[in-house]
Symmetry: C2
Subunit: 143 residues, 2 copies
């Protein structure tokens, strides 16, 4: 879909977003995520340590495999409410595995490590990745 | 449900949360909200000006009326990822109207205006309010 330049910049320049997914019964969950936006898709790695919980068992992964409809909100909070605004992205998510779609997973890893040096020390190249394809973008407020 | 003191404090002390709801087809949406927590329930006013969009038509209100399952995440982002953490509240939401449940709506308005002086200038006493009853609380990370 077509996304105007200021919305692209808003999405690209932020460091955190909150991702909502829902299970097969329509029960939502929401978590903060780090992400990159290449102008077309949004990528977010599954960066939990595998020993804590098997990645496939993560709620957001199970939800996406059952129900690909997701929503992502990007906003800043401030006490001056005249400055508040958000970008809400609705779309379809899928799970990318390392090696999937030729170099797509590897390209997303590079973009993520450029944006977040923290990922240089993490094996996100060996983990699953969420790929979000926006279908609708809503802007609200002052941003 | 029982909520320990440090989790209560974390919820109470934060100024913004992100609320995920889902429609009857299980499609989620998510927005930033202001809220108060009285130790048992979470209240968030519908503060859009009625002339912009009729409150009943707001997506989150329609979703809650169709599907009361909601999720709320409260977190801070920081570049030092060792400090990251969140509280994820899953629960059931309902819409309170002014005058509902004896003084419950009015009490929530008072709590909201104590927490956010910004609401003193807004007619939240005349608007709908979202009431969230937690059924499950998950803590993750450093908080």
């Amino acid at each position: 879909m077509e996304i105007d330049q200021s919305t692209r910049d808003f999405i690209r320049d932020h460091r955190v977003a909150r991702l909502a997914t829902a299970d097969g019964d329509g029960r939502p969950t929401v978590i903060p995520i780090c992400y990159v936006f290449d102008g077309e898709h949004i990528y977010s790695p599954i960066d939990e340590k595998p020993k804590q919980v098997a990645p496939r068992r993560l709620k957001r992964v199970r939800n996406i495999e059952t129900n690909p409809h997701v929503a992502l909100v990007i906003d800043d909070y401030a006490e001056d409410w005249t400055t508040l605004g958000y970008v809400l992205i609705s779309g379809l998510a899928e799970i990318l595995l390392p090696g999937d779609h030729a170099s797509e997973h590897a390209r997303a890893v590079t973009l993520l490590r450029d944006k977040y040096p923290q990922y240089l020390a993490m094996a996100i190249d060996e983990r699953m990745m969420i790929k979000l394809t926006p279908t609708r973008i809503k802007r609200w407020g002052a941003q």
